[in-house]
Amino acid sequence: MVKIPTKWLALCGGALLTAATAAYAQDSSALIDVLVRKGIITDQEAIDIKTDLQRDAGATPAGKINLASTTTEFRIAGDIRARYEERSGENDTGDHQERGRFRYRFRLGFTGKLSDNFFYGARLESSTGSRSANVTMGDDAGPWAKNSDALNIGQVYVGWTPNANWTLTVGRMPNPLVTTSMVWDGDINPEGIAEQWKMHEGTMDYFVNLGQFLYGTAGSQNVFGSTPTNKDVYLFAWQGGAKIGLANGQSIQVAPTLYNYVNTDQSTNPTPFKGTFTAANMTGINNLFVLEIPVEYGFKIADTASKVFGDFTYNFEGKDRARKWGRPDLDGENIGWQLGFQYGKAANKGEWDAKAFYQSVGAFALDANLVDSDLFDSRTNMEGWVVQGNYAIGNATQVGLTVAKGKRKDSSIIAPGSGDIGTGALNDYWLGQLDLNVKF
């Protein structure tokens, strides 16, 4: 056996370690310790090498960041999206409204893990909208003024994972529920408390997601004088589901969910939700007790991940909601459904995906304050097609195209909601969006 002189080994080891990038300074410590234990280098040589590596690491921007010792992991991530959008609609008189606009969206998130299994997250987002972080370019008091360009807190939450099964979160959080754009706009970050449980057994993944979301505060619950006592309005969500793994990369996921709104009739603040219907407004959240069943069947087409997906909703109080609106004859409009197909996923450079689905939502089926704000103009009582496609021109960059075409499902009543096309009597809605999305 050829024996290599210790000095040469030490030299080679030292040279290798010194050549390592600053980012690996911390990781190299374990390797240096091994070299010491094996007697290849001395403790003094080890501390000299470590000091040199740390000095190099300290010269990098990352080396100058000082995180709290309680932080075990810290991540910064975000995205910027530039969009051109056209949307148009026709009202009952045959008149048209069209809107074309350039928009941007900026989101910057910070997430961290702490000792004792706690975690936190915060995300800054452009726009003040509840269902959108888009800012319309040129939409300011003067040319390129910054009135609409402020950053707001889109997410801020803390959580605890006491074990591998449970996650508890409180704050303004990413939506913890498995759902679709038919029921929840993807930009909504509900505020409140969520409890999540999951378990893996064989080919089965079971999960339970519970949410107690504070929909609207009553301000003071009891005030001086004879003003009636108020209560905060809550949206409770109870979801239980499972994902079953099948042969050849196939899977089925079902996640039935019940939504219940509490104290809707007692709140005087915020007024839009206290159940006051008018001929042109159905945003009140009274008489909503909704079952949602999102389903997804995943499979592969020539090694490309694909899926058939769908969602079904049923408002158990739809009949009362229709009656309160003044159209008891429309008590069947308490159902929503969506069915679609997706091929591929544009995750890495050169990959693409395509998705198409059909959706039909009755006027009394869902909370119009939560549904997607783009695809059917933030409204229920709409039905139509959506076609989407994305192409990853880089690992962090995507271009995307979305086209939606819909119409009022029952033209004898309004399409409830507050969209960009300014009429509840919305016919022949059309949406086109071209996106450039950069993730960092």
Binding site: A25, Q26, R37, D43, Q44, I47, D48, K50, T51, Q54, R55, A57, G58, A59, G63, K64, N66, S69, T70, S115
Partner: protein, 268 residues
Amino acid sequence: MKKALLALALAGSLVSAQAAKLVIKGSDTIGAKLAPMLAEDYKAQNPGVNFEIAAEGSTTGITAIIDSTADIGMASRPAKQLEISAGAAKGVSLKATIIAYDGIGVVVNANNPVSTLTRRQIEQIFTGDITDWSAVGGSPGKISVYTRNTSSGTYSEFKELAMKKRDYASSSQKLAGNEQITSEVAKNPNGVGYVGLAYINLPGIKVVSIDGASPSVESVQQKKYPFARPLFYYTNGEPQGEAAKFIDFTLSAKGQELVTKVGFVPVK
């Protein structure tokens, strides 16, 4: 002319006399006993040299080198990356010299029946996961955790070596030095703390073994004791002048003899 030369010579001797003052700051582990003993012996051999020694924790020693307010910084932990960066920003190149080894001994009251603990139990006790001695085989009683203060190198090193970098229990009491910890543990039947090898044989306390290994010169030398660490002198670059001479003395046979005498483990 002669008078002028004489005056110059006098002035030169005065300057050299002032330059012979060594300022040493930092670790209490090194500075409480070892550094003064080394200084006494060094002075005996070099009568013109004066010492100023301040033992207020490793952080103060490394900071003193970065701020150029000491010739030697004593540390019982290696410099952190931010300290090295801070030094580099001021043109100071921190250079560590290992002068001895130490084992951090976990000490309990002499009357405590517990005499051995696992590394996991040590972590749980000092982080507050375990709060009663009965949980580790002792007599029931609320555990009183004593730690060094945050400027101490031992404080950081113990977190690194024994606690997976977790935070100390919020109920832990921070004390200034090894002797204060031994004193409190000796008085408190439910006390637990940690001290350097030089302090484990004081009256009223006893050292517990960790996973069967006890701190000793042999176990530290053979790298068998899990909570062992080097002790450092820090200088700005390679040591120069009187500081270099003093470091050479510390590493000499005579200096290492004192290292052993104090209770630490010699480098060679």
